[in-house]
């Protein structure tokens, strides 16, 4: 067992993937000597060379566009987008090319490209550095979209994403980069499939559905709710596209109450999809409407206000109270 932070777990996962497959490349701005602005790629260029850990010019569309070309040549590029808000210059390449090209070829070509995006707020950054753009990508057919929430998942999920023959958008909760856990990097037999959701805390009275940075917040809320005599189940979705409906619906049928928690704006957010699907499939099991907690329909605020924007333990518990009030 090794104690690793989430960022170091990603680093070790990528290192393992590069050792296992010489076609795996890392590319992005500052990923080489600097090791990325969050140091997630620290030391990889030193060990694998500049041809495999490629410091690119400063242009996100160029990173994804050339990664597509490298993938067409048989490589497996792992692209780093420095911050969530900077993925938009690359959105055209991701949405119109990366996602669609395999289908356009009637399956003749594959594009095993991973787009790593440090996402979400909570680190006191300036604008465009704290956003949650997942709904843009879950709405795009042809992409797989996953979000890790803890070091152990980070280690395995990044390797699974790299091995996938489909393009994967990989969200990393940047405010959790420094959180640590004990990971058994020598074992692989305990790997959960990339697209499986996990019940990370069992409970009986209500289900909290979350992913990425909000999983920890929900676990804290569930611990606090226990003091009030409420047993909350927490499900870490892990994969947003495809969604592991079996785990989600099984939980909802047992508890009868659902609160969805994410950082992105609630309006048209991923929680809307969850609410619709849960309602459609579990209508007669529900004791209350599916409630959502998330960001407001505003741009992400200046950092002095972000504590009000981001869902915290109290806002989650407030929604739980409302769910029990029906």
């Amino acid at each position: 067992m090794t104690i690793l932070s989430l960022s170091k777990a990603l680093n070790e996962g990528m290192r393992k993937a590069m050792e296992d497959d010489p076609k795996v490349l890392i590319m992005g701005e500052d990923v080489g000597k600097l090791g990325g602005v969050f140091r997630v790629t620290d030391g990889l260029q030193k060990d694998f060379g500049e041809d495999r850990v490629i410091d690119t010019p400063l242009a996100e569309s160029g990173i994804i566009g050339t990664a597509i070309g490298l993938a067409l040549r048989g490589y497996r590029p792992v692209c780093e987008i420095q911050f969530d808000g900077f993925v938009f210059p690359a959105a055209d390449q991701i949405i119109t090319q990366l996602a669609k090209m395999p289908m356009r070829s009637l399956g003749a070509i594959k594009l095993p490209v991973v787009v790593r995006i440090p996402c979400g707020g909570g680190i006191g950054a300036v604008e465009h550095h704290s956003e949650s753009p997942e709904a843009h990508f879950t709405h795009t057919a042809g992409l797989r979209v996953v979000a890790c929430s803890n070091p152990a998942d980070a280690y395995t999920m990044i390797q699974q994403a790299i091995r996938s023959d489909d393009p994967v958008v990989f969200f990393e909760p940047k405010r959790r980069y420094w959180e640590k856990a004990d990971i058994d990097t020598s074992s692989t037999d305990w790997w959960t499939p990339l697209h499986a959701a996990k019940v990370v805390r069992p409970g009986a009275d209500a289900t909290l559905l979350a992913y990425g940075p909000m999983v920890k917040t929900c676990l804290e809320a569930a611990a606090a709710a226990e003091d009030d005599g409420r047993s909350l189940e927490v499900v870490d979705l892990r994969s947003l596209n495809p969604l592991d409906e079996a785990v989600v619906m099984e939980s909802v049928r047992r508890t009868g109450r659902v609160v969805v928690v994410h950082e992105a704006p609630v309006y048209n957010g991923f929680g809307a999809e969850l609410a619709a699907r849960v309602t459609e499939q579990c209508f007669y099991h529900l004791e209350a409407p599916v409630l959502r907690v998330g960001g407001f329909s505003t741009p992400y605020p200046p950092s002095k206000l972000e504590e009000h924007y981001l869902p915290d333990l109290d806002r989650v518990l407030d929604a739980v109270d409302r769910a029990f009030g029906f």
């Binding site: 569309s61 050339t66 390449q93 070829s105 003749a108 969604l243």
Partner: protein
């Protein structure tokens, strides 16, 4: 200022245009571009030009008759495409826009496969690896980055090959094209940028894209640019061959600006009479890429009337065959919608396919 006047101002110092065959069919020499073709090779180039023009004309006719939803004609650009396409070796990789029917011909893509996209039966439909000819790309300029990335892969494979990427004058305004120039230059990637400057981006003239001749853009990015007579198949072949060889031997990228003219509409939905004058078209008719090769062959007694007749007959047969096979192209099945979206199993796709299949079955009962 009129269009002509503004063009004149821009070309105060006319750039050298590499030309090996004049519009009158006279062979001229160029100090940097030697080309030694056998009579058989010249006849073969002529045949290519005639046949791809016929493919194009047949496709336009099919669109007019409602068999294709839309078509992007290459009329006038045959020499640029055949000249550059015939410069490629089997191991080179080509990245087209949606107008490179002539390059597709050079890469042995069955012409009927080009129609699938425009008939609406698929979004592409050929295997790019089988022909080393990538899928048509609709979003302007996106493919330039794919070509550079592919070239970076060639470098990592230590292979002797190059990529060529096609785009138009309008695409040079796109961010992706400029990013691809930067990437190619910084990584010294083995890529040839082949810009077919056909003077018009739908209704927008070249003046709306640039204030300098496009080939000069390259110098700002740190690699050579060259302007070639895009209606001269010899010059396009010679210039592209040299640029590809430079790329394959580690000398990095080249930008080729093939100076040509789109004789037809942008696509069949366009109406160029709204935005350009007839005299411009008439002037370019005199530079026709096919007529000058024909004149050269005639003057030099490298082909007789029987040869030209046989090529015309072959074109007729090709056109008829294309028409027959276009009409025979089956419509896709409803459940094909779900195919190839992902390579690995995807629960949501499986669920929606099953639901839709059940819905469709309801009509059969």
């Amino acid at each position: 200022m009129t269009v002509e006047a503004s063009r004149g101002a821009r070309d105060e110092a006319p750039p050298e245009l590499v030309q090996l065959l004049t519009p009158e069919g006279e062979r001229v020499e160029h100090p940097d571009y030697d080309l030694d073709l056998t009579p058989e090779e010249i006849r073969s180039l002529y045949r290519d030009l005639v046949l791809v023009r016929r493919i194009d004309l047949e496709a336009v006719a099919l669109q007019r008759q409602g068999e294709l939803g839309i078509w992007a004609s290459l009329l006038g650009q045959e020499a640029a495409q055949i000249g550059s396409g015939r410069a490629l070796t089997d191991s080179d990789m080509a990245f087209p826009t949606y107008r490179e029917h002539g390059v597709a011909w050079c890469r042995d893509v069955d012409p009927v496969k080009l129609l699938g996209l425009f008939r609406g039966v698929n979004h592409g439909g050929w295997d790019p690896k089988e022909h080393n000819f990538h899928l048509y790309t609709i979003v302007i300029g996106s493919q330039t980055l794919h070509a550079v990335g592919y070239a970076m892969g060639i470098q990592r494979d230590d292979a002797t090959a190059a990529t060529i990427v096609y785009f138009g004058d309008g695409a040079t305004s796109q961010g992706d094209v400029n990013e691809s120039f930067i990437w190619a230059s910084v990584f010294n990637a083995p890529v040839v940028f082949f810009c077919q400057n056909n003077q018009w981006a739908i209704s927008e003239p070249l003046e709306k894209q640039t204030r300098i001749p496009l080939y000069r853009r390259a110098s700002g990015f740190g690699f050579p640019g060259i302007r070639v007579d895009g209606n001269d198949v010899f010059a396009c072949l010679a210039v592209t061959r040299k640029a590809l060889e430079a790329a394959r031997t580690g000398q990095g990228p080249t930008l080729i600006e093939a100076f040509t003219y789109r004789m037809g509409a942008h696509t069949t939905t366009d109406d160029p009479t709204r935005y350009r004058v007839a005299s411009e078209l008439e002037a370019w008719k005199l530079k026709d890429p096919i007529e000058r090769v024909k004149a050269y062959l005639f003057k030099n007694e490298l082909a007789d009337q029987a040869f030209f007749d046989s090529v015309d007959k072959e074109a007729d047969q090709l056109g008829a065959d294309l028409r027959r096979r276009c009409l025979a192209m089956p419509d896709p099945e409803p459940l094909d919608i779900f195919d190839h979206v992902y390579r690995e199993p995807h629960a949501l796709i499986d669920q929606e396919r099953a639901q839709f299949a059940g819905y469709l079955e309801g009509f059969e009962k």
